[in-house]
């Protein structure tokens, strides 16, 4: 169970941080060559913080509330490092990578949801 929870945490963290990063004008311009619109900024920020919170809930439920927060922060750090390197070397790949990360997170989560529901 543990590796899939960690995969979900890493995926959610990466997608969340990518969204928060793209809500900043400087990085938005690096990736899309234009400034972000106000509404887009708000959507990206809301998604980003929501995904970070969701990652904590996933970690807490999946690993217990002792390990969960540790794994949550660990995954955030690891994802942030990956994001910064990608942003620095291949900024164009950031948005697709975030979508892939979200997909990676969705697989174990939907499997877990299926296992729980009757």
């Amino acid at each position: 169970m543990t590796p899939s929870i960690l995969a979900a945490n890493l995926g959610l963290s990466f997608a969340a941080l990518a969204a928060l990063c793209l809500s900043l004008n400087r990085h938005h311009a690096e990736v899309f060559d234009r400034k972000a619109e106000r509404a887009a900024v708000l959507r990206l920020r809301a998604f980003g913080w929501a995904a970070i919170a969701a990652s904590l809930v996933v970690a807490g439920i999946g690993e217990g509330w002792a390990f969960g927060p540790v794994q949550w922060i660990g995954a955030l750090t690891g994802a942030a490092l990956g994001l910064v390197l990608l942003l620095s070397y291949r900024p164009r790949y950031v948005a697709p990578a975030a979508l892939v990360a979200l997909g990676v997170a969705a697989v174990p989560l939907s499997l877990a949801a299926l296992a729980v529901s009757p």
Binding site: T2, P3, L6, L17, L20, C21, L24, R26, H27, A29, E30, D33, A66, F67, V70, Q71, I73, G74, A75, T77, G78, A80, L81, L83, V84, L85, L87, S88, Y89
Partner: protein, 539 residues
């Protein structure tokens, strides 16, 4: 302090970081390696192959053999420590100290025969682990120095947070293609800020692991300085029993081991025999930590003469004591499985990078103008930077290399390995003093890369059971270790190439004069003039 709060914090950050930077770097590198301490130890003792777990009677018999050996070789010792065989380490590891002040003695026995095991002499990963908090100095000195450095690190972290003007705006910013100082500063900020929770946690919990030594005053006032009484009352150790000074025969430990195993579900890790041969002898069975954050070994104390159970400790700590053990547990990360351990390791590497970029920044900020000579302090700092950032990894690689290349039956072999470590480090620290700085960087980094490759080559050539030599067999540990070494070799080679290709460090004044036009697409191309002001205040 003149200027604002932020300026004084910037000053504090710069200088506190510089004076302990090199020691901190060594602490971070050896600490990060210590996340894999058991694996490193196992790699350095290739004679030991994984074994099936032993059942209770076999473990009991092995413990009896250990006691027989100790009764013959260490009858005067005040306590014996017997690490029982585990699948990963199928030997009896004995440790005893005859009297205070004398160096401890150690022996390794084959658990099935009781004869000394045929294992090459090495300190293994324990050397790096102890270096992490003792710096291979007398323990009292080393621990105090590490503690002071950790405290200064905590201050540097706090002042760094205050100094960093745009912690959120620059959260993801790493401009690797800008002026060198800018890129280094970004790298310093990114490695510092992204792993900030880790850095704060590891520094504070690190101090806490030795807090009773650094800050004994609570125990002094409330327990009149009796640490053992405090530990026992907090439920961290079993109640100590002073010697009765009457001789009595030690009860056989085999049945004790079997009873201990029947009481606790965890793996039995070791036995401590306190005051063997005395009427008040105590045998404490120490178990592995149950799955959880806190670093707390369940223990059972037995009377060493009658064999009856005296005390069972297994969890149930009160909140503050529990917090203490959780802090130690977080610091050591024994609980972390493969993936989480990798994340901790990555955070450790970011710590190393943060310290390394920090000390490099200090010298970059003080590069002389075109017509000036570098002042002596700057040259010394530059040489020390190379000597630690390239020198320490080179020394670790030489330590591993010595483990493979020294003859297995060399007298004092473990010390030879350590001598090789320090010899390599001293050479690596002295050479940059007489080489031009950029060449020295390049040579140092390339040397680390080559040494890592040499470790892999030596491993494959000297280990008959290496997975690459046996098709479909062999311990995968060797393959993993070598893969990590190859990765490090690649990283250091990449770094060396970067230094080689790097344009000669341009002086500020020259850059200002020849302000080259930036590509128009670049979204943030600060004009030259304000750069000096917006350039963050620390460095």
């Amino acid at each position: 302090m003149k200027g604002s709060f932020r300026q004084s914090m910037a000053w504090l950050h710069t200088w506190s970081g510089l004076i302990v930077g090199w020691v901190l770097f060594a602490i971070f590198v050896t600490g990060t390696a210590s996340y894999y301490r058991p694996d490193i130890t196992r790699w350095m003792r290739p004679e030991l192959t994984r074994a099936e777990p032993m059942d209770a009677p076999a473990l009991g018999a092995a413990a009896e053999r250990a006691v027989a050996y100790l009764q013959e070789h260490a009858p005067q010792a005040r306590s014996w420590f017997i690490a029982l065989p585990q699948p990963d380490k199928p030997v009896l590891d004995l440790f005893w100290r005859t009297r205070p002040g004398e160096p401890p003695r150690q022996a390794m026995l084959d658990p099935r025969t009781g004869a000394e095991a045929a294992v090459r002499g090495t300190r293994g990963g324990d050397f790096l682990y102890r270096f992490h908090f003792e710096l291979h100095m007398p323990p009292l000195w080393g621990r105090w120095i590490v503690g002071i450095c950790a405290m200064i690190m905590l201050v540097a972290l706090i002042s760094g947070i205050v100094t960093h003007k745009r912690i959120f705006a620059d959260f993801f910013t790493f401009r690797r293609d800008k002026a060198p100082r800018r890129s280094w500063l970004d790298a310093h900020n990114v490695t510092g800020v992204l792993a900030l929770p880790f850095h704060l946690m590891i520094t504070y919990t690190g101090i806490m692991t030795l807090a009773l030594m650094y800050m004994p005053w609570g125990v002094t006032t409330a327990y009149r300085g009796d640490n053992q009484a405090f530990f026992a009352e907090a439920g961290l150790v079993t109640t100590p029993r002073p010697p009765a000074n009457r001789p009595a025969a030690l009860t056989p430990v085999g049945p004790i081991v079997e009873r201990a195993l029947a009481t606790m579900p965890e793996t039995l890790e070791r036995l401590s025999v306190v005051n063997p041969g005395d009427a008040n002898a105590t045998v404490v069975a120490v178990f592995e930590e149950p799955h959880g954050l806190s670093h707390q070994h369940p223990q059972i104390a037995f009377d060493g003469v009658s064999g009856e159970t005296l005390e069972i400790l297994g969890g149930g700590l009160k909140p503050a004591a529990k917090t203490f053990t959780v802090m130690t547990g977080l610091h050591e990360a024994h609980f972390a499985g493969t993936a989480l351990r990798l994340l901790f390791f990555l955070c450790g590497l970011m710590g190393c990078a943060m310290v390394a970029t920090g000390i490099v920044l200090w010298s970059l900020a003080r590069l002389p103008k075109a017509n000036e000579r570098a002042f002596f302090g700057l040259r010394l700092v530059q040489a020390l930077n190379i000597g630690s950032i390239a020198g320490l990894p080179a020394a670790v690689a030489v330590f591993f290399l010595a483990n493979r290349l020294l003859p297995a039956d060399l007298a004092g072999r473990a010390e030879w390995e350590i001598d090789a470590f320090f010899g390599a480090w001293i050479v690596a620290a002295l050479v940059p003093l007489v080489r031009p700085q950029r060449r020295a960087w390049c040579e140092g980094l390339a040397a680390v890369s080559l040494l890592c490759l040499a470790v892999v080559a030596a491993d494959i050539l000297t280990i008959p059971g290496h997975p690459l030599r046996l098709t479909g067999g062999g311990d995968p540990l060797f393959a993993w270790f070598d893969a990590a070494m190859l990765l490090l070799a690649g990283l250091f080679a990449l770094a060396a190439r970067k230094v080689l290709r790097y344009e000669a460090p341009r002086k500020e004044s020259q850059r200002e004069r020849s302000a080259r036009p930036e590509p128009a697409a670049s979204p943030v191309s600060p004009t030259r003039a304000p750069v000096r002001q917006t350039e963050p205040t620390h460095a």
